[in-house]
Symmetry: C2
């Protein structure tokens, strides 16, 4: 059952006011990773709660307590829970989103002020931090609510909302809240939830809508090599002592090959090779090497074979080396600092788990470090692991989303797995025992987390229609 | 001819006022690497000129023009030139020193305020930024001048001074000034100079005075690996594109082994192995593995053989890997930045020169990068090279310094080469065509460039006697 035509018309005739509301949301710099901006995260939470209330949603602001970040003791932003509709004959859909954003400063390389939504006339791009990650999708839901309220239309399902303000900073406290509400059963906030819908990822390309049924997990390591207890001058000490930086660089060089192969024995082997049949799924996706090269801004794809590149992202683990902290600066003529740290993520796919991968990585690093015969010390921390997640895409929740996409976009959506991680997905799936669907609004080149983040106007508007239509399709399916 | 006993007594009875003057100098935070402190470098130059004038030295402040540092257009601190004595029957000694200092903030890990000279009663340590590098030695010369002025003693030689304010930031403009003054011959400031004495390095250990006749040179490289034109998320792009960080780490790992061996073909080979006779020189130095381990604060010496460690510092090239800039932070969940840079020094020894070493390093890096089969781009910059310097330690200038050391310290000094680089040494030697001597005041554990920089009171006081006595020994030698 497609959405009523009044709903579609309402969305088409309210584009300007929808964009204006998105501009209000983008203007609040709700950067969760910065202590200075914590008050703005709270402001954004209040703004969202006020909007929900005005649209008839009953809300609760859940205090998650305090935490320490960069040595600062800070209050955690609240989780905004919401409910509208309580008809036991209807299905209940749980919507998740996050109202915090990544840091952004114009000097990072933005062409415009990151916290002023710019509507680019020629391209229809809505440019601003949070436009696509994740304020645009949250506002898509507000648009759906507004249309129904203003038109006097009954919602086809009961809706339950869970909006957090710490997603970009590790979602602190959220898992505990979900698990504890779930454990309360009929007395918990999530009572009666039949399925979950999360709109916090992106199309594979810039053309074809997609629906996502898998995410990679994470294993995260921090290596510290320490030796001298003070900064040393490279002139006075060069070639007399074991240098931490030399050891650390050598150790890091043993982890991953330039072609992406993970050199830690046993890690790649854990994932079976794709059968010819499975490869054909990737071959069928609407995707071209050019898509990834346009998104990266350079012709640097690891392969010219589309299925290989897609499987690298969707069904293979990856290992990225991140920063080194504590290096010497050129200004001080090559002092070497006491301590070097390096961070790296392993992105995991089933059947990998942090528990299975971590011991392999740690023992490999220790044995490679031993081979260096260094008198420096190696310390390895592992933290913030997250399981990979793969859902059943034949579930009625996916069926509804596929039908809604076909109704709005007139094409069959790509069914994809994502390279990134959204740990809360698994928490919802496991603690509520229901199907979780990822229904993205934005395109593959939106640049979430990057400079000049954008959401295309057509994605915002058609995406709003998609979210509304999805609710009607959920209602229509007999379970 | 030892120094007159009145001179020695004057120094012994004026310890407190000498330390007070050092305190005044340390209190001026003349950090040349910081635009904010540029006015303090000028203040320090004026303070020094005023002191010299009060002690009877005729001075000139030489404007070196302006430069751009970190995007700021700044005036270069002046070179203070000085002269006292014009007796054609006497030798003329040129003294070099620098009145700027390294950056320092208490939060770097100092136990005391870096720009407040602290006299540690129990140990006699004079703690403060610049105490040993290089305000202490400059003030040693002021002490010598004061003693002679107050005692009405004639100086045994003519003195010529050259004090700069940019040594810690590349000595900009100094070489040009020296070369142009030297080219003026009899009309130049350095007319009649017979030898040069520089007090800007350290004893090998904490016990035995040393005299230094060699310094390593420098070849400096900056590697940039670039690929994506925007930041990428490690989830979405991990194992789909060539990652700059992976390439850079692998490339850096090819440069130097954990034992200090330089892996660039031809670089280590350029230096012939030490003969048994040459080894015996290093064996004879008053030095123990414990000395370097105490200075580094950890038992991380590359060898347990003393001569091997000393030769690593004094007669071998070294390669240190420094920082990586532009890496992703853990907070942004593993974004990889557009650009990674790495800096490294090669310290050179004769017969190596930047011109000989640079092409070897560049072609090796290019060929190793090609082996990675990466689609990213490598750029290599080489800059700020400096030649190694070795002097004739049988020259009368060294003879005088050795006699003065024996007179003051009652021991034979160690004759050493240094691992660091003082490019002006070579400029003086080449443009004036005279012998250059390095006569250090401080000890091997003074921590120049590090936190808690100090000069021992006994080194300040006996060092003042040494500088004065050296002038008498220079005078006494018939050339």
């Amino acid at each position: 059952m497609p959405a009523p035509s009044q709903f579609i018309s309402y969305v088409d005739t309210h584009v300007d006011s929808f964009i204006q509301r998105l501009g209000e949301a983008v203007a609040i710099p709700s950067i969760s990773a910065s202590g200075v901006h914590r008050k703005d995260v709270f402001k954004m939470g209040s703004w969202l709660q006020h909007q929900l209330n005005a649209l008839g949603v009953q809300t609760k602001s859940i205090d998650l307590g305090r935490h320490v970040m960069d040595g600062q003791d800070l209050p955690l932003p609240p989780v905004i829970l919401g409910k509208i509709g309580n008809d036991s004959k209807k299905k209940t859909v749980l919507i998740y989103g996050h109202y915090d954003v990544q840091p952004a400063e114009k000097s990072d390389g933005w062409d415009t002020e990151p916290f002023t939504l710019v509507v680019e006339k020629e391209t229809g791009r809505l440019i601003g931090r949070g436009s696509t990650d994740d304020k645009g999708p949250i506002l898509g839901w507000l648009n759906v609510l507004e249309a129904h309220q203003k038109l006097g239309l009954e919602l086809p399902v009961n809706l339950c909302f869970c909006f957090e303000g710490m997603e970009e900073s590790g979602s602190q406290g959220l898992d505990e809240l979900i698990i504890s509400e779930a454990a309360k059963g009929n007395d918990g906030w999530f009572v009666g939830v039949d399925c979950v819908c999360i709109s916090d990822n992106y199309w594979l390309n810039t053309r074809t809508p997609c629906i996502t049924y898998g995410l990679r997990g994470i294993a995260y390591f921090k290596l510290t090599v320490s030796g001298p207890t003070r900064d040393l001058h490279s002139g006075a000490f060069g070639r007399t002592v074991h240098e931490p930086m030399t050891d650390l660089i050598l150790l890091m060089s043993k982890l991953v090959a330039p072609d992406g192969t993970i050199l830690v024995p046993g890690v790649d082997d854990m994932v079976s090779a794709a059968s010819a049949e499975e490869r054909s799924i990737y071959d069928a996706l609407d995707y071209d090497i050019k898509d990834i090269e346009e998104a990266a801004g350079a012709r640097i794809a690891l392969s010219s074979d589309k299925a290989t590149v897609l499987m690298g992202r969707m069904r293979s683990p990856s290992l990225s080396l991140h920063n080194i902290e504590g290096g010497a600066s050129a200004k001080t003529w090559g002092m070497q600092r006491v301590l070097f740290t390096s961070t790296g993520f392993h992105r995991l796919v089933p059947p990998q788990t942090p528990e299975k991968v971590e011991p392999l990585v740690i023992s490999y690093l220790q044995s490679e470090f031993a081979k260096l015969n260094s008198k420096n010390k190696l310390n390895i921390e592992d933290a913030r692991g997250g399981l990979p997640w793969v859902s059943d895409y034949k579930h009625w929740n996916y069926e509804a989303a596929i039908k809604a996409t076909e109704a709005v976009y007139k094409v069959k959506p790509d069914l994809t797995r994502e390279g990134g991680s959204i740990p809360v997905t698994l928490t919802f799936a496991e603690s509520l025992g229901v199907n979780v669907l990822l229904l993205p609004m934005g395109r593959g080149d939106d640049g979430a987390h990057s400079t000049n983040e954008k959401l295309d106007k057509s994605n915002f508007i058609e995406g709003t229609k998609l979210l509304g239509t999805y609710l009607y399709e959920v209602d229509a399916i007999s379970v």
